[in-house]
Symmetry: C2
Subunit: 177 residues, 2 copies
DNA sequence: GTCTATAATCGGATAGAC
DNA sequence: GTCTATCCGATTATAGAC
């Protein structure tokens, strides 16, 4: 069975996605995780500690996901763009939840997201030698994140965009060789 | 002198950008605008009304901004990507503030942002005939929005990306002719 | 490790004076 | 059109039992 700490962080994530930061009260998180407020406060001594725990887990997860794409058969570019556009992907869920948390005073959400995005950029750069093209790939992916955040998915069309970007990268790498 | 309503909405915007939705309490907004809580509640009868007023203004502003780019000498594509990447642009500030508001229960922030993004897409489409390419332009711009939101601006490099995208569009339009 | 009860504070909203 | 005073509910956090 999952440790209570993880269950609490899962509950926080779901509440953030459903109702934003104001919905993620200690009582609501505790209830969603099936424990009492006191039970939550045993694991995370304050709201700040809870939020920080969530950001720490986010970084571990997203770096692991980024590393994983290096071995992906479809390539890093397609893998990143795919991850970014699937709102149900566990790693994407965490990022979207963190975006909903952006701006709160308790923790530095932006710093955590910056670290995650920079890590992704480095991973992309290992397969896309032209830095401008690597940045373009990242920006398209992050645009997909933003659209996932507000729920505007134009799935079929976005698949075509992804294919176009992948082709663009392949073409450029061929020219460089 | 600016009407109090506008001053209040400006104050809300700044507070959202600085401290997220939880920092934008009625009292804080009123204080930042230089009026009392009671004074604010005369203009906006509830927090919901205040938020809705902000979203209404956002839509008017961003549609006007989109229309304006149709006459921009550098072209719609460059203009959109430029607007998206300059966090100080008034219209961009509104969008970034709205993103910080995403997920609150009082109003449908997502719907307003969707409407704004769709309007931009239509404007872009008037100059970029290939729908896949138009969507790509939009996604790059929205990626820039997201990076402006978390404060990762790589200005010089992003300018190069913008130039690359503009060239891509120009090339495609030439081929189509 | 988890619970209940409670303290202390804060936020949204109303009423009525000026 | 703006202010002060006040009420009420919600939220964070503590204390201490089990």
């Amino acid at each position: 069975m999952k440790p209570t700490r993880e269950v609490l962080l899962d509950a926080l994530e779901t509440l953030l996605l459903d109702g934003g930061s104001s919905a993620a009260t200690l009582e609501a998180v505790a209830a969603a995780a099936g424990v009492s407020k006191g039970g939550l406060l045993y694991h995370f001594g304050s709201k700040e500690a809870l939020y920080q725990g969530f950001l720490d887990r986010l970084l571990v997860e997203s770096k692991a996901e980024a590393d994983g794409t290096l071995a992906a058969p479809e390539g890093v570019v397609a893998a990143y763009l795919d991850v970014s556009s699937v709102a149900e992907d566990p790693s994407t869920r965490s990022v979207l939840a963190a975006l909903r948390l952006a701006g709160v005073q308790e923790v530095d959400v932006e710093a955590a997201l910056v670290e995650s995005f920079e890590y992704w950029y480095e991973v992309i750069s290992r397969r896309v030698t032209d830095p401008v093209l690597a940045r373009l790939v990242q920006l398209v992916g992050d645009g997909l994140y933003l659209h996932a955040l507000i729920g505007t998915a134009t799935r079929e069309q976005d698949d075509e965009v992804v294919a176009r970007v992948v082709a663009l990268v392949a073409e450029h790498e061929r020219d460089a060789a």
